[in-house]
Subunit: 389 residues, 4 copies
């Protein structure tokens, strides 16, 4: 059970780029990193205006001298200090992730980055190679993958509870961008819809990669062989898709389907994943993350609950509060940051053996997301044909 005590020897000296005042993404990064005393927020480029950057930094306890106007300055200045930063989090618009990531890795810093880490498959491979070469940790915040029940699901599949996996059905389909007024009134939405900032895809990239990563986490043995994507822009003014269906063919015969949407009117998040095996299925819904449906053919349906003793130890050990109590998205993120801390600490100690088997959403997971988005776009743009993976 996690109880907020640091699990590493010294807290990691850490900085944020982006995620300043009024940024809810900034808040969840900070809250999660600081939850377990494993990171110290030592410096930051919270926003481009240095005055605002410092004001905000001070308000959350950062030394104003270590609030910087841009990331290059920060990397340069911090590298001169004996207590300089060791790791950074990137929470800036998508089109800046690649260059900041690259610069950070080159500066010898561990990186935690919002997805997508870049737009092009080659760039993703470059960052992955650089991470390997520098023997650094690069974490991607696939923030739903830290839920306890996802670990339970992963362990159930690995243990054969479902039998051979046949089907992976996924959806992340919400409704709040059902009309163009969403982007008209909200800059946060507007840049998501802008190819120059967001890349070649809106909804597949923005949410589909999250659910894809859940599937990779739960059923790591499945490899996509080919896929087919059909996408639409139901709001006509949009340059990028606001809805898509993707059919997946896995090596070895399993099949899958992903539905992503920003126009699923009336739906909250609508992120669900169902894994169907020869013997049983499991199903998880991110709006009620403390439950996992477990349906063995021929038996009554079961609802597994977070914090219960009948779960696999790998799931139970990530409890932060006794069973019955609900955990939420902050705990999922905190669990991920805890894993980033453990990984960074292992890397610092050069315990590469440990890292071989330690699960966290890493740069390869990020790179697979880029590949997925680009393959989907390629399929859809060619008339929704099957494209080899």
């Amino acid at each position: 059970m996690i109880n907020g005590e640091s699990i590493i020897n010294h807290p990691i000296r850490w900085a944020m780029i982006g995620g300043g005042k009024d940024s809810f993404i900034g808040y969840i990064h900070r809250s999660s990193a600081l939850r377990d005393c494993s990171f110290n927020l030592s410096a930051g480029v919270f926003t481009r205006d240095i005055k605002k950057c410092r004001d905000f930094g001070v308000s959350i306890g950062v030394d104003p001298q270590r609030c910087y106007p841009d990331y290059k300055t920060m990397f340069a200045e911090e590298s001169k200090r004996s207590d300089g930063i060791e790791a950074i989090t990137i929470a800036t618009p998508n089109n800046t992730h690649y260059e900041i990531s690259k610069a950070a890795l080159e500066a010898g810093l561990h990186v935690i980055c919002e997805k997508p880490l870049c737009f092009k498959t080659e760039e993703a491979e470059e960052l992955a190679a650089l991470t390997r070469e520098k023997k650094l940790i690069y974490g991607v915040t696939y923030g739903y993958s830290g839920f306890q029940m996802i670990q339970q699901a992963r362990k159930m599949v690995a243990s054969g509870d479902l039998g051979k996996i046949r089907l992976v059905n996924m959806q992340f389909a919400y409704g709040s961008f059902n009309t163009g007024s969403a982007e008209a009134s909200n800059n946060f939405v507007k840049w998501r819809m802008d190819p120059a900032v967001s890349g070649p895809s809106f909804i597949i990239a923005d949410v589909g990669t999250h659910t894809l990563f859940l599937s990779e986490t739960i059923v790591p043995q499945l490899e996509i062989e080919k896929l087919l994507c059909v996408k639409q822009s139901f709001v006509e003014t949009r340059q990028l898709e606001d809805n898509a269906y993707v059919l997946l063919q896995y090596k070895g015969g399993a099949a899958g389907m992903l539905w992503v949407s920003a126009v699923n009117s009336g739906s909250g998040h609508g992120q669900k994943i169902r894994i169907v095996g020869e013997k049983a299925s499991i199903e998880w819904w991110d709006e009620h993350p403390n439950q996992l449906r477990y349906e063995i053919e021929g038996e009554p349906q079961r609802i597994l609950d977070r914090g219960s003793k009948y779960l696999y130890p790998e799931a139970v050990e990530e409890d932060r509060i006794a069973g019955g109590h609900p955990e939420g998205l902050f705990e999922s993120w905190s669990n991920l940051y805890r894993r980033y801390a453990v990984a960074i600490d292992a890397a610092a100690r050069k315990d590469y053996e440990f890292l071989k088997n330690y699960w966290y959403p890493d740069v390869n997971a990020g790179a697979r997301g880029i590949q997925f988005v680009n393959t989907c776009v390629k399929s859809a743009d060619a008339g929704s044909i099957w494209v080899d993976y």
Copy 2:
């Protein structure tokens, strides 16, 4: 509100072909037809063995003289009687539907038939033409379409409650045939898996056409432009598919998806339909048929309940019991048989004007199901490519 009183002038003299002792499909046909005093069970070919046929007929109140060894004899003999049968129900294996239907229509009998009414598109068109020519009623038992909440959904879409329809997501995915032991131990299952009896498709034809018809009922304005189907036989000994995904492109831009499965381990029926409009969505699940989710974007989700006064009058009038009480599949079927009776009565009175606007699952709906199955098979067999409709 329906209260079991006949709504037509005289009960229709009606016979069954198939559906004898121990047939649960026979039971639901009889129970539904007789529910409202609109049909009299006057004759029948309940099974091929004339002794058993008579024993069964007598046990359910049929004159033993009017229990026949085969449908040809029945049609011939009954045509000689002044009180001969007017309508028949066909509940025999799929590969006999076409010839019995054709013979019945040619004998001037109204027909109620289990789907599929045949296997080939040309045969379906032939039956449709014959029905029109003879000015007879041909009802297909898409048994889920008689639920009150389906009528409510249909009226909501027609009234614009959802705005322009964008997406139709469908599934009928159960788990009970997850292994080959299903057909090994059960003849009912075995013939479903046999192309000679069931035609070129198992699961798409057997259940997918049901959900397709729900979509046609709720959103009649949508016309399929093209579709793409990928299908699998996860149980390797099967000649027909036990799982499939179908992507649908409708004329005018709407899109759809259908998942059908017999290997969705642990799931009951798993028939669900979600209609997404510009403003709102509705969702219905056949295992809890008395509820309809209604989700207006930006408002709290609503759950509409059967029998409530806030429903459209077109739905309320099909109540058989006060709100709060659950209705089940038998009521859905009874509502359909009630509509067949009304239609047959109108045809008898030559009120063709009335029939123009009277909804019931008719021969054209049956023919569209055949077309759908054959187009899916064509797509899948050609490598899961898009096929024009």
Copy 3:
């Protein structure tokens, strides 16, 4: 599995008193009795106006000569016929049940009666004694007790699946009479609120006895030792209570609670029962009657589904349609009428040994309901004190 074939040698000649045109209670009685070919509707007093009575009788297939102006005439005339009626159903207002029941029993007729069978405990005992003396069958239509999952629950408790029973929590709490406009606009409601027609209690008698009987069916071993009732009339113009809480102390230490309400705003039926045992609990909700929650302490919660092979045979045998399909209230009632038919047939054959162990809601169950209502009223009227049972 039930498939509509008669299970007795000859259909019982049966008449209805009350339940005429536009009566939904009349409809469910007729529909349920006739469902399995075990009753013939041979005569009736459908309404007091003999012209209307005959018109209605004819519309549902009754010989107009056997449509009578009152029950006394019917009993007298039918007794003269060799094919006279054997059993009656009473579906008239509550204040007539006692006298009609008594007259019917004295005329040697089996009785099926809407609850309450009378108002006074002594009257109930009198009817019970008369039933025993005449060796007749007296069925009370506790219409929710025929659901398959209630039989499953009963068998689970008997089999020890829950361990020793500790708690019985019950509620039947709907909202539709939350204001006085309910009775102002609806005669059906008005007589329910009138002590002269309904007796000393409205909501406890009208719905509470239903849930009480479910508890008696599921946990027959529990005997009430004492109870305490607090009741209210939230709509001030009402003479009878529209809400009540009852605390129950059972012999041997188990405890229980019942909440009944007609002012539970926004709720549908709201009939639920939860049985808590030392090891596990079960819970059932009449609006989703095809499911039964089964919660073993320390294990994942299970949802049992109607029609599943894992149920007890005693539950499975009452299937009318394959699992996955929903059954509704009509099936529950039909199952009860089927049991009344079996019991009447056994009584006709003088097979009293069989009847000793054959479960159906009988006159004693009806009498217990009267006792319960009167004890609740006594407690509440004395200041909501504990009253021995």
Copy 4:
């Protein structure tokens, strides 16, 4: 929207008593207090062993010099420092709350205390009087009351959305102590069952007061006039009750019911509250805290979702993450600690006017809980009779 920035001028210097290593209650206190940069953990008595106390303190960033062996020493030493503590949290066993609270208040410290703040009504009144006299803040951690949807519920009632309130139905009924093995193997459980440590009640005090406080928060206008309690110890070795029902009569005619249980086999938390008004009802379940059912009589049931724009501003402003995402118990607690910080800051500024209308679970709420428990015990011990409040 809350985003982790401090909302007060300087962080409050704060210490913990109890809640050391491996204490999950300690973790949730620290995590919640530190969440918004409004408290600094400056000192503590984490456990009685000073060595362990210091080790733990250091591991979570506390100056070892300010880790103390007991609370008296801490109060004395800290009072000498210019940067001494201003507030404490008490997370020790129940039987120590009163004396520590009293000492803290007398030392001029603000107090945040686990409930119950004491065992006797007089002690509760004494602490309340002392808090008023010293013009300090005394917060009680009724940890479920900080959920956004509780604020929404409170505002809905205040706005008249439900009409006049008629009924308050409450339950907090879990199953995990269904056998004596719970206390046999777990010290945490054992002291809860021991009257010497826990006071005169186990389950009413331990969980019932939580739900009672939810009712007070949502419907503050209701005052209990009298109550009646029946309690049981189903596990026979227990000296304190493990199950109880309480009937409530409020002034003005409203009624209520509370069921508390530790033997509700198979249930998780089982904390639910339903408020029934003349026009509508609301219902909340703590295991799915992001939803609130809203049922207007005569309209479809609605499900309100956390983070939605249609909520009252008083609810929306407590968002920590965008709608659709689940929040959990940690956010509820953090919201409470945020309120304690605001209140303490206002008290420090002597802004008593502000405090008059600022809601948080205060010493009076704590005192009402004690009164409730003692009245329940009094009723039950006198034979479950009505007791004036």
